[in-house]
Amino acid sequence: MSTQQAEPESQEAPEDPEMKGAESPAAEQQKGGGMVDEQAEKEAELEGETVHIKVFRYDPEVEGKQEPRFDDFHVPFTKGMTVLDSVMYARDEYDSSLTFRHSCRQAVCGSDAFFVNGKQRLGCKTQISDLEQPVRIEPLPHQEVVKDLVVDMDHFYDQMHAVEPYFQDEDTPETDALEEQRQSPENREKIKMSSRCIWCGACMSSCNIAAGDNEYLGPAAINKAYKFAMDDREGEEIKEHRLRILEQEHGVWRCQTQFSCTEVCPKDIPLTEHIQELKREAVKKNLKFW
């Protein structure tokens, strides 16, 4: 994350004519032989062009930047450019104070979820050629903005930890009786998708209910709980304990099946489906006592 102090002149940089005219290295690039699919066409269109991005800016520590605004950048397009690439270019070439989280650049670390053209997306997994210009890049909604595209993730992490996101065993066996805990291929298949979560927070940010009800666990945490509750290697008692956390008023019942989370999840986790399954599990558990 860039933490540099802003230079005062950086504010006028975006409209600098010099920058607009920057010659793109992409112009040199050769087009691949027979590749004339849709993606290639879109990229060909942009070749040698600049991409217009509008980036949300806010910095509480610099006077004159405390009022949120949008900065325009014209970034030379290169083949395969992602949203993350474009803001990195803007930061490296035009305004070193532009701040955002990123790390692995391959959709594994989950640090660069942004609100791009009105949808929560992972910056490093979104091709800029797929988006309409100007590309509007904002921090995740419903979370406090710390600076530019950086939001406060504390509440999200609190919710994740509330579901006890770690494997639990009822009783640890004697040291000499220790054994590998095997999972059946079928059970592995069942929790496979839920285990793909990268804690990016896109789903939580897209959830209309999580925005209104601060206590709602949210899709990511419930999915995390699903991963363990559905794991056969955890005992019945632990599963019941997990369901008790989930079936509280601000647990699974708050989900209104809007499918927003499922739609934005960059790892294609069927979040709504998992939440629904847990609702049914919780009802079944309670019906037994009637």
Binding site: H155, Q248, A282, N286
Partner: protein, 121 residues
């Protein structure tokens, strides 16, 4: 936030009842609309006609059950909508009390009306 989840308040029963009443209401509401707008027309309703329908005990019971389930389903829906908006604390309790009183009042009045229609009162 973990400590916020220490109190054990299952919301599952209400969720489940909302679904059960929904399944019932889908059928009865469709029947109700069909009967009073297509078989009989709303503009032709007279007390005599209403009385004739309500004198059938099965119909009367269905209508009273219809009223009870619809009131629960509707009022519970309203309550859920407010909880989704983040209603909490004293306000939440007050809203719940108002909604419960309104529901009981509606069901009582509705049942009384149904009984006058059937000629039982």
């Amino acid at each position: 936030m973990a400590e916020q989840y220490s109190s054990f308040t299952p919301g599952g029963t209400r969720w489940f009842l909302q679904r059960v009443t929904a399944a019932f209401l889908v059928v009865v509401l469709a029947f109700h609309f069909f009967l009073l707008h297509f078989v009989n027309h709303a503009y032709e309703v007279t007390f005599l006609g209403t009385q004739a329908r309500m004198e059938n005990v099965g119909y009367l019971l269905t209508m009273v059950l219809f009223l009870i389930t619809a009131t629960f389903h509707g009022v519970n829906g309203v309550y859920n909508a407010l909880v989704n908006q983040g209603l909490e604390g004293t306000q939440k309790k007050a809203v719940l009390a108002v909604l419960v009183v309104a529901s009981v009042g509606l069901v009582a009045q509705g049942t009384y009306v149904a009984l006058t229609m059937s000629g039982m009162i």
